[in-house]
């Protein structure tokens, strides 16, 4: 009899699956939260290695401080599609997405409260980052700054700005390099038009583009996150080099507690402690070691050697907000659609 045994199997599985709460209750008998907490952190693509280290460190410090065991599950993918999944019901306790825009998508569905940006230090930014260049060994195409990208014969790898945070940031950085240098919008448009003509393939996410550039060996220069560039160069063992342009965009990957989910799952205390941990000396140190620019000035100064002084401009230098930038540059029929002809 196949079916009943399958049902039995299912029920055993479900029973085994439900998160175990330990039997002993605290002295006071008051229990606001179960003693074993499981958190889900929904993040963007290139942060896998960072969160692996942060999670282990937090779990240890949380247990020491509170006696409670916390395990953290990770989900990674393209930033916008991850936001979409949370809106569709992915049970994230915290989100750590690439762009303000994506976190705000979740707020718009009332899963995150309106004041989220002000709830944590530094506008909920435990770290910032930027977009840099990765080139082949010896920099054969002589690429040193943004203007070199439009030289004939230079093939550029960058993910699709429509689906990827990396892609949007790379586009805005290229556009901004003209504006910040005193150019007009017309010149900026001409520059990005030339630039995206030289993009042979638009991957949907940051890691996909990295694979295209470093493993499939397509293209001469890869526009990517600073942290991803360091990892990529490390993994390539000498076959790739990192190039810092003179200016680039200030990338602000915010973190936020997903209020609707933590209230339902009763995980708010642990989730808030988790995000606060990112700002501790230990958390900031791990962040810096993974080549993200730490919010804490002291930690940043300590690692100054690995973060060359690039002039970083915020998105507000180019548009009133990310919402406006999205509408003006990346929505259907907007600037990106008019300058990019798919092949």
């Amino acid at each position: 009899m196949r079916f009943p045994s399958a049902l039995l199997f299912l029920s055993i599985f479900l029973a085994g699956c439900s998160s175990g709460t330990s039997g002993e209750s605290t002295d006071s008998g008051l229990r606001t939260e179960s003693e074993t907490v499981e958190l889900l952190n929904v993040s963007y693509d290139p942060t896998r290695e960072l969160w692996k280290d942060l999670n282990a460190a937090f779990a240890e410090s949380y247990q020491q401080e509170t006696g409670n065991v916390v395990t953290i599950k990770q989900s990674h993918g393209g930033s916008s599609s991850q936001a979409r999944a949370v809106v569709d019901g992915l049970d994230a306790d915290v989100v750590s997405l690439a762009l303000w825009l994506d976190t705000d998508q979740i707020r718009q569905k009332n899963l995150i409260k309106d004041d989220w940006e002000e709830r944590l230090p530094n506008r909920s930014l435990p770290y910032t980052s930027t977009i840099v260049f990765v080139v082949r060994q010896g920099n054969p195409k002589q690429i040193y700054d943004w203007s070199d990208l439009s030289k004939p014969g230079v093939q550029i790898i960058t993910p699709n700005p429509k689906t990827s945070g990396n892609g949007k940031l790379a586009f805005m950085a290229a556009w901004g390099s003209v504006i910040v240098g005193g150019g007009t919008e017309d010149q900026a448009r001409k520059f990005v038009t030339r630039l995206y003509k030289q993009v042979p393939v638009l991957d949907t996410g940051a890691r996909g583009a990295t694979t295209t550039f470093s493993q499939k060996e397509i293209g001469d220069v890869h526009l990517t996150w600073e942290n991803e560039a360091h990892l990529e160069v490390q993994e390539a063992k000498g076959a790739l080099e990192l190039v810092y342009p003179s200016v680039s965009i200030l990338a602000e990957p915010h973190v936020a507690v997903v209020d609707a989910n933590v209230d339902r799952k009763h995980t708010r205390i642990a989730a808030e402690a988790y995000l606060k941990f990112l700002y501790t000396a230990q958390g900031q140190e791990i962040i810096a070691r993974h080549f993200y620019r730490p919010a804490d000035a002291e930690t940043l100064a300590k690692h100054a050697k690995q973060f060359p002084d690039v002039s970083l401009f915020p998105i507000t230098r180019l548009a009133a907000s990310w919402n406006e930038a999205q509408a003006r540059f990346f929505s259907d029929g907007a600037i990106f659609d008019t300058i990019y002809q798919s092949k």
């Binding site: 196949r2 079916f3 399958a6 199997f9 299912l10 599985f13 699956c17 889900l40 693509d45 896998r48 290695e49 599950k73 990770q74 989900s75 990674h76 993918g77 999944a85 809106v87 569709d88 019901g89 992915l90 049970d91 569905k109 890691r207 996909g208 694979t211 990892l231 993994e235």
Partner: protein
């Protein structure tokens, strides 16, 4: 019929016997009679064809067939195992066992796939029974609908479930109120896998049950068999090999499913990542040895499934040959 035609070697004896023997014979050969017969046919006729061609053409054709298959299938297949074993057996086992997320993905696939197969067994039997044993309006439509999972892209299947069971969808808010998770959780994986593999069992059984006809079942009912007796003693023994064949195909597809599962999984490592998803993730995390280790296990499962399938085919062919001999001897 032309007596000299090689096909008649197979179909001839069955035709000359009287109808009772014919049914008995088919029943004994049971499920895959049409398939096994066709395999025999092609072998015999193909053998005749090849022998007539000049040697150079034979060498060219066979050689190019082996080259293409070698390049496209054999070399990549071997490469997966070579990569997985780059650090030896201990390395492979370490890659599979020491990472709890990988361990979980193996376990997840090994629980979702068999359960999807079990559900499809029940469903496939019911569907094949309904379609071959009853006449009703909409029967053709039902048969066509059965093929829908084959026709739709798996990604669309996944999105369909997100739209249905997601928080922005029709049932999402209701399910959440009752504390039930479908997508981004285990039931969603099962649902997507079951949907994608749904036609295999039914598609295997329908032509078989149609060719068997209902005579034996009618006879059993007229002799007073109740529905359970009918099923266990008449129908199931007749279709059992066809059923097994369908299950094998269904299982092979279920363990490898990527697209639909990718959309509904939510990519939670150690929770909703099945083996195919884990392979992709490890690859993107620069963990090539880990990625190839999981890929090799997945490949091994597929090869074992394939082996089971060909063993079954050989077994049935032999059974069928035995049945013919029996039919020929008076």
């Amino acid at each position: 019929m032309h007596p000299s035609h090689p096909w008649n070697k197979v179909s001839g004896p069955l035709e000359v016997t009287d109808s009772t023997l014919n049914i008995a014979c088919q029943a004994k050969i049971s499920p895959l009679a049409p398939r096994a017969a066709s395999t025999l046919r092609t072998r015999k006729s193909a053998g005749g064809l090849v022998a007539d061609e000049p040697l150079w053409l034979r060498v060219l054709l066979i050689g190019s067939a082996f080259t293409v298959i070698g390049l496209l299938i054999l070399i990549p297949l071997v490469y997966v195992f070579v990569q997985a074993l780059a650090d030896g057996w201990s390395g492979l086992i370490k890659n599979l066992w020491n990472d709890p997320d990988t361990r979980h993905s193996i376990w997840l696939t090994l629980s979702v796939a068999p359960l999807a197969v079990a559900l499809n067994t029940v469903f496939g039997l019911a569907a094949a029974w309904t379609i071959t044993r009853f006449q009703f309006p909409g029967r053709t439509l039902l048969t066509t609908l059965l093929d829908v999972p084959f026709a739709i892209s798996p990604v669309v299947v996944g999105l369909m479930f997100v739209l249905l069971f997601g928080m922005q969808g029709y049932f999402g808010p209701l399910l959440r109120d009752h504390g039930i998770k479908v997508i981004f959780a285990w039931p969603g994986l099962l649902l997507a896998t079951t949907f994608v593999t749904l036609p295999f069992v039914a598609r295997e059984l329908i032509p078989l049950m149609e060719s068997l006809g209902a005579e034996e079942e009618i006879a059993a009912v007229s002799l007073g068999a109740n529905p359970w007796q009918l099923f266990w003693r008449i129908t199931l023994p007749n279709i059992k090999w066809g059923l097994v064949y369908g299950l094998i195909q269904c299982h092979a597809r279920a363990i490898g499913e990527f697209g639909a599962v990718y959309v509904v999984s939510g990519h939670i490592a150690g929770q909703t990542d099945t083996m195919p998803l884990r392979v992709e993730k490890l690859f993107q995390e620069y963990n090539n040895p880990g990625s190839y280790a999981v890929a090799s296990v997945l490949t091994l499962m597929a090869l074992l499934t394939l082996l089971g399938k060909s063993l079954l085919e050989r077994f049935l062919e032999r059974q069928m040959a035995a049945a013919q001999q029996e039919a020929q001897s008076p």
